[in-house]
């Protein structure tokens, strides 16, 4: 048979024998149980803050409920009382006008530590204190009661230990699941930037950071190229590396000089993104506004995640580079015909669907064959590069130029009618006319010129093939009239009927 003490302990053990989500939930169960068992008026739980040598009140339980309360007691103010508490595990305060008993609670909690580059899980002792008060009837605590309270305190310690281990495990599991989910989302997104946005938003949400920033460097890792950020509202920001403040640019050096920076007090983490020796960029996480500490466990998980992210970004960049090489002409850096055809079809579809205009310019360099014959192919290539450079710098971001073949280039101008296309053609003509061929022997500088034919959707044609044909016919008319100019198909249509172009270009 159980004696009374054993039975009480058993009952208390049974009451606490359940899985608690966290320390708070456990205390919300344990404190009322103690209150009822010993007919207490109030029970308190304090955390022992070693660094400040302070007992800091966390929770109070009275009558039917528990609630958060605040009270800080410095050990420096109460040395004898605390000495007794630490030595004997219990101490009765004599300063109060009613009986109050302090009971020491010690338990081990799992924590992480970084030692010489490797992560170690260790157990660190935590100390808490219970304060039990009887202020109504002022009944003093008997020695049997004090013995029993000490034993129950140990039961609470044991449960706190288990709860903290469960909590750490759950936290770890949640983090792994969250990061795994995010990696899957990232892997399935087609565009690098979209994927990165999703990742940053997800990390901010799961880890409750105020802000998350991803700084991407250039391919040499020497300069910050762009910054993608998510702020406390969840808004995404894009910034060019050039617009950063000097001190922000300095971070790059700082981050790569130290392997990983964990500044818990400042609630900031910097994590470099590296693949072998290649610098990809770095991540920053901060809780500067909310001033919440970033847990070490979070830091370790993010560090592992950063390695994975760096590899993925590097792979995605390589893929983009390969795509770029296959879509762009190496000499002129203009898109190739295949890429242009895809974009052209998309834009025609968009123009038809939303009733938008679209224009096409076909151009070639005047007397290009003669330039090649007279100055050699090197100068011919130089001329092509110079013209395409002007084209690239003179267009809007939405316009798509293309090297169609030889010296023939095409420019697609979405949302542009023939009048607007003429403005662009005139601008190109004037800028290209300023190019002089680099011939040291020439007495007179030899200027380049171009001829351009323009067709527009829907006024001249409604299909890609027809638009190309009409622009080519307009170009032919320009050539017939001496080159160095441009023409819109609609305006020269009557001349086209009389002068059908032959397959062989006259200037080649």
């Amino acid at each position: 048979m159980f004696d009374k003490k054993s039975y009480t302990l058993y009952k208390f053990h049974k009451e606490l024998n359940q899985s608690f989500q966290d320390k708070r939930e456990l205390l919300e169960c344990a404190l009322p149980a103690l209150r009822d068992l010993f007919k207490l008026d109030r029970v308190y739980f304090f955390d022992w803050q070693q660094e400040r040598a302070i007992l800091s009140l966390k929770m109070m339980c009275k009558k039917e409920y528990c609630m958060d309360m605040q009270e800080d007691i410095s050990v420096a103010n109460e040395p004898s009382f605390l000495r007794q508490l630490l030595q004997e595990g219990v101490a009765e305060t004599t300063d109060l006008s009613y009986p109050a008993l302090y009971v020491l609670i010690r338990w081990l909690r799992p924590t992480m530590e970084l030692k010489s580059g490797e992560v170690r899980s260790i157990m660190r002792e935590k100390v808490g204190v219970l304060r039990l008060e009887r202020f109504r009837k002022k009944r003093v605590f008997t020695s049997q009661e004090i013995d029993l309270i000490k034993d129950l305190g140990q039961e609470i310690s044991h449960n706190l230990h288990n709860t903290e281990i469960d909590q750490a495990k759950n936290q770890r599991l949640n983090i792994s699941t969250a990061l795994n989910d995010l990696s899957t989302i990232f892997a399935s997104s087609l565009r690098l930037n979209d994927g990165l946005e999703l990742i940053l938003k997800g990390v901010q949400r799961y880890f409750h950071f105020d802000r998350v920033h991803l700084y991407l460097t250039n391919s040499e890792g020497s300069r910050i190229k762009s910054v993608l950020g998510v702020d406390i509202s969840g808004n995404v920001t894009h910034e060019s590396g050039d617009s950063l403040r000097d001190e922000e640019k300095q971070i790059l050096k700082e981050v790569f000089d130290s392997p990983a920076t964990y500044r818990a007090i400042r609630s900031v983490i910097y994590l470099p993104l590296k693949v072998q020796r290649t610098k990809v960029g770095f991540l920053t996480f901060d809780n500067i506004l909310s001033r919440r500490k970033i847990g070490y466990l979070d830091f370790i998980s993010l560090q592992q995640f950063a390695t994975q992210l760096a590899l993925t970004i590097d792979n995605a960049r390589l893929f983009e580079r390969v795509q770029e090489l296959s879509n762009y002409d190496e000499l002129t850096k203009l898109p190739v015909r295949r890429y242009f055809n895809e974009k052209f079809a998309e834009e025609i579809y968009r123009a038809k669907r939303f009733g938008l205009s679209l224009s096409l310019i076909i151009m070639d360099i005047d007397w290009f064959k003669q330039i090649n014959d007279k100055h050699g192919h090197q100068i011919g290539d130089w001329a092509l590069k110079a013209v395409s450079k002007i084209i690239r710098s003179s267009l809007r971001q939405t316009d798509v130029p293309c090297r169609f073949g030889g010296d023939e280039m095409i420019i697609m101008l979405p949302r542009t009618n023939s009048e607007e296309a003429k403005v662009i053609a005139r601008r190109l003509q004037s800028r290209i006319c300023d190019i002089t061929l680099p011939d040291r022997d020439a007495i007179e500088p030899e200027h380049l010129s171009i001829s351009q034919g323009i067709s527009s959707y829907p006024s001249d044609a409604t299909t890609t093939q027809d638009l190309l044909e009409k622009a080519d016919q307009a170009l032919y008319v320009v050539k017939q009239h001496g080159r160095g100019s441009f023409a819109v198909y609609r305006e020269v249509a009557d001349q086209v009927q009389q002068n059908e172009p032959t397959d062989e270009k006259t200037d080649k």
Partner: protein, 399 residues
């Protein structure tokens, strides 16, 4: 509907809210109301995790200090009350409380006033009579307060556990809220007029905090001690207290104890008081927005405002209840004098963070004082660092 509230009336908070909720339930029997009480510290941490999808507890209505509005609005956790009820207005609300309800720069209401309080100096008339013929005159300045403290210490030196000042801070530590009147009294503020820079690192700000800290440093006020063991005005182990109004009524109710109230002694040229307000906001993630709004409107009703203000001894936030309360008793007449000197913290995104940083500075000072290692130079250094931190925050969040 789940309410997250702050311990308005200390250990009695749950009972007081139970009374309020039962009144609400009489009119709205179908609405279930659960109340959870969190301290400012816990609430501060919790409001930043409201967005967490794994959070099981989703509060509907949350009570916050007035100066958190801009911050939580930026964090995206506040419901636009003007959108929820276009008829909602702040017309009858006391003027100083209005600014902290809006989205800065707009008239969109995001948090709604609940109650407010004013800091003042309360003293035991019988105690002061022993050391001063004219306490009203002697307690006009901070230096006067310190002289009175010294005289009281002398007079009550043989009373065990006696302190001239009772500590009104819940934690029993140094509190920024109590220090604020010293700052404002010197004509200072946290920021320059254009809110582009902070004045926390200025000599005047440091002096103002030192004025307040002197109370603990000279052991005129206890810090970091077991609360229950400390002397109070009522027990006769303290004679004065700088605090809000709360609790003063019950002091006076005790037989033989007459508590008088005066404006906080001026540390600078003029007297200043801290107006601390409490507001409600509805969480963006609430599933019971209509019921929450109903509760907010219920709390703003003059009869409820008056009843709750009397219950927890604070001031109603609306004119219609404020006037009757202040006229109801001669003891409160002094607040007509104090209210025009009251200052409120600005509605800025970083204000809550600034208060958290300064709270940490004062907590550190308190530890240093009890361990006898506090020096003014340490405080100055901390405030210089704090100023840099605030400048950094300003650069990110533009206030």
């Amino acid at each position: 509907m789940l309410l997250w509230v702050m311990p308005d009336s200390g250990a009695r908070t749950m009972e007081d809210y139970a009374t309020l909720v039962s009144l609400f339930k009489k009119e709205n029997p179908s609405v279930d109301v659960t109340v959870r009480v969190f301290t400012r510290n816990v609430l501060w941490r919790r409001v930043f995790t409201l967005k967490d999808p794994s959070h099981e507890e989703k509060p509907d209505l949350i009570q916050i200090p007035h100066y958190w509005t801009a911050l939580l609005l930026r964090a995206g956790v506040m419901e636009n009350l003007s959108q929820l009820d276009p008829g909602l207005s702040l017309t009858d609300c006391l003027l100083p409380l209005k600014e902290n309800c809006y989205q800065p720069g707009t008239k969109d209401i995001y948090s709604y006033p609940w109650w407010f309080d004013l800091s003042a100096l309360h003293y035991r008339a019988d105690h002061l009579k022993l050391v001063s013929a004219h306490p009203e005159e002697d307690l006009k300045t901070w230096s006067g307060l310190l002289s009175i403290c010294a005289a009281l210490r002398e007079t009550f030196g043989d009373v065990p556990g006696y302190y001239p000042m009772q500590n009104s801070d819940w934690r029993g530590s140094l509190s920024m809220r109590s220090a604020l009147p010293c700052v404002w009294s010197r004509g200072l503020n946290f920021f320059t007029e254009d809110y582009a820079a902070t004045l926390v690192g200025s000599k005047e700000f440091k002096d103002a905090l030192r004025d307040y800290i002197t109370l603990a440093l000279k052991e005129y006020m206890p810090i970091l001690r077991e609360r229950g063991s400390l002397g109070t005005i009522v027990s006769g182990k303290a004679s004065m207290m700088i605090s809000r109004k709360q609790g003063i009524g019950s002091f006076s109710a005790r037989r033989g104890v007459r508590v008088q109230t005066l404006p906080v002694p001026a540390a600078g040229e003029k007297t200043a008081s801290y107006l601390s307000g409490m507001n409600w906001f509805i969480s963006t993630f609430s599933q019971h927005k209509k019921d929450s709004l109903k509760f907010i409107k219920f709390c703003a009703r003059p009869d409820i405002q008056l009843r709750y203000a009397k219950m927890i001894e604070v001031f109603p936030a609306f004119e219609e209840a404020f006037e009757p309360l202040i006229s109801s008793t001669p003891r409160l007449q002094i607040y007509k004098e104090i209210l025009p000197t009251a200052h409120i913290l600005p509605n800025m995104v970083i204000m809550g963070t600034v208060m958290e940083i300064l709270k940490r500075v004062l907590a550190m000072c308190a530890t240093q004082i009890v361990e006898n290692r506090f020096t003014p130079a340490l405080l100055d250094r901390e405030l210089d660092l704090t100023a840099k931190e605030i400048e950094f925050l300003l650069s990110i969040y533009k206030g």
